[in-house]
Symmetry: C2
Subunit: 190 residues, 2 copies
Amino acid sequence: MGKRRDTKSRMLETAAELVQRQGYASTGLNQILESSGAPKGSLYFHFPGGKEQLIALALEKSSESLSELLEQVLATAPTPELALEMITGYFGSQLESSQFTKGCPIATVALEQSATSDALHEVCSRTYARWQSAIAARLVREGQTAERAGELASFILSTIEGALLLCRAHRSVEPLRRASTELARTLKGL
Amino acid sequence: MGKRRDTKSRMLETAAELVQRQGYASTGLNQILESSGAPKGSLYFHFPGGKEQLIALALEKSSESLSELLEQVLATAPTPELALEMITGYFGSQLESSQFTKGCPIATVALEQSATSDALHEVCSRTYARWQSAIAARLVREGQTAERAGELASFILSTIEGALLLCRAHRSVEPLRRASTELARTLKGL
């Protein structure tokens, strides 16, 4: 069992990393097998639903650890502005150290596949909803009503996701720095 | 010459539409030829640089007409808030009428290809810079300094691009509506 679980985990981690860098369509099953060193038979043994199931589970897993990180930062940072500064700083350093190949781990698949694959739409939508809830929870703690906190959290998440996209397009972290500064102003003015 | 130009234009329009819906990697040359009804030989005749060149020119062309529309709305709307409301309203209706397959025409390629293709990075980056300049120009007219207008325009573009992404992920126009309302508040408070 230990070995089987190892193979499965390795395949999921490799798939998540490849998809973050190059998207869903460019990531072939053979590339996942080769990069993870998994035997060919393991694919349909672990993922009878094929590529769609494998990538959905990979995104689920990679977004789980990022969600936990975001939730922890949002819950413990001294102010929400500082939480957003830490989060955008984290994404910025990921972008710079990967030559702008690693932005949001699910955004490329969300754009490529949300309209056509229900399984991938479902995992992307649920993940974004979870991040939005984590931001909203912190704003409620700062005194916002649940409704207003949800609205602001949607706006904040849009700004960060768009900045991550523009950083990749421009190969520069400037849009993310600007997003962080402007969101801090917005939060201070509440 | 007329017929040749027609074939080339048809191929570019078809490619732009396919790429907007499904991204770069999923769009095959055969699909572009079949959907545009172009003869096979026309591909390397018109686009000796192959798929990368064809898609770069297609994005160039499709973003040109969108850029003109955005510039016109930003230049002529009674207030910048109203301009953003018209722009997000336009994108929202495009999303709804296409079952959430048509968001930003260049975002998917920007995420898939910016890090690896210089030609595609260049056209995406230039297009986003042009949209940002159009927003900034309007803010200068409203009395902002050029520097501050540029900063705000970066923030506004990030928010709209992120909202377009979240609309596709959630199959809902709610993030775009929220972005428009919050950006209007920001602009009114300047």
